[in-house]
Amino acid sequence: MTDSPLLLQELLRKTAAGDAAAFATLYKQTAGKLFGVAIRIAGRGEVAEDALQECFVLVWQRAADYDPTRGAAMSWLIAIMRNCTLDRLRRRARRPEGYAAAESTLSRLVAPDTASKGAEMRALKHCLGELEEQPREAVVLAYLYGLTREELAERLAVPVGTVKSWIRRSLERLRRCLDR
């Protein structure tokens, strides 16, 4: 499904040219994975459905902006899907309670189903593993479930300022580790 980058790239190119059939095929090929991303972040079917709809409307309108030299078509679609989902999530209040995460967040990261991403996933896991436990928890929970700084502070039972500086330092360390 997502293991045919050239096909997706070609479908996006045709979509940019106004080819509705290519656009429908693009949807068929990618909506399942993107919906999985949206549901994981939003936690609710109806938010994920609205976000998926908005995502594909944007894909139709902005397909010409996709630049194959800057990354895989699937990555471009994922970025749009994430933004649509996060925007919808931020417009509502949710999950005010705190909670104590007992399990390791690293165990929630599932291997990608695209062979070419396997090595990148291993590198990401390795570099996340070099962070201290709570800052890592904050980064992974934010990316997986779209938590805000305030929600993270509540869950990890620390002040918001602490979450902010954890995230700032962790992202900087991650970048240095991954770019090595």
Binding site: T25, E49, Y99, M121
Partner: protein, 228 residues
């Protein structure tokens, strides 16, 4: 704020991708992005660092109404998405003339037309009382069983078990015990999953509820989504 500082730009790009910015800050950052190609590259680089996680996301078939809504909103000609599956892409590749990339294209055609089974459709998402999803109920194909599988690993000691219940009209009906480890799932006959009901998971003694009714706290629950 001084947006010329390379450290600050890098930091904002990273937090934008991580998703922790409040909505108004996101909007402000997106306006900066609009006419700053270098900043857009920093965002793309951060997307690439994190997106292996999303490539690993579970494939879930969205309800057909989503595509219909896209078609309606964009006033697309009714290019049937049903035709546009793998057969559609075969026709598309037959028509494509990519002489220079013939070998690469041949490989892609193989991948593109391999008949993959339709992804499962979501029946329910069972979340804890904080709204965090723990289990997902899906169904593949028409009339097939409903599979209930954990979305993540949940700690459970040997003296307890997770039991699945279907609740319709306020009455719970035992469906079986669940194993809270990724890769395990429980298959339930679709007829036992009530269309307007709720699926719930309670914490029970090992071996399941001794009474045939939930005896422990309900840890996860989710309404059964309406089918198309």
């Amino acid at each position: 704020m001084n947006y010329d500082s390379p450290e600050l730009r890098e930091q904002l790009a990273a937090e934008y991708v991580l998703g922790t910015m409040p909505l108004l800050v996101r909007r402000r950052f997106e306006r900066l992005l609009a006419d700053d190609p270098e900043l857009r590259r920093a965002v793309e680089d951060w997307n690439a660092r994190f997106d292996p996680i999303d490539y690993g996301a579970t494939v879930l078939e969205p309800p057909a109404r989503v595509w219909r809504a896209v078609e309606r909103e964009l006033a697309l000609p009714r290019a049937s998405a049903a035709q546009a599956g793998w057969l559609g892409s075969l026709a598309f590749w037959r028509g494509a003339t990519l002489a220079a990339a013939a070998l690469a294209a041949a490989a892609v055609v193989y991948v593109g037309v391999r008949p993959t089974p339709a992804p499962p459709s979501v029946v329910a998402i069972l979340s804890d009382d904080k709204g965090e999803p723990g289990w997902i109920a899906t169904r593949s194909g028409r009339g097939g069983d409903v599979d209930i599988a954990p979305i993540r690993q949940v700690a459970l000691d040997a003296t307890h078990a997770f039991e699945l219940w279907a609740i319709a009209d306020g009455k719970p009906h035992a469906l079986g015990l669940l194993t809270p480890e990724p890769g395990h799932s429980l298959a339930v006959q679709a007829a036992l999953v009530p269309e307007h009901g709720v699926l719930a998971v309670s914490l029970e003694p090992a071996g399941g509820s001794p009474t045939g009714l939930p005896t422990g706290p309900v840890e996860y629950k989710g309404a059964v989504l309406q089918r198309e």
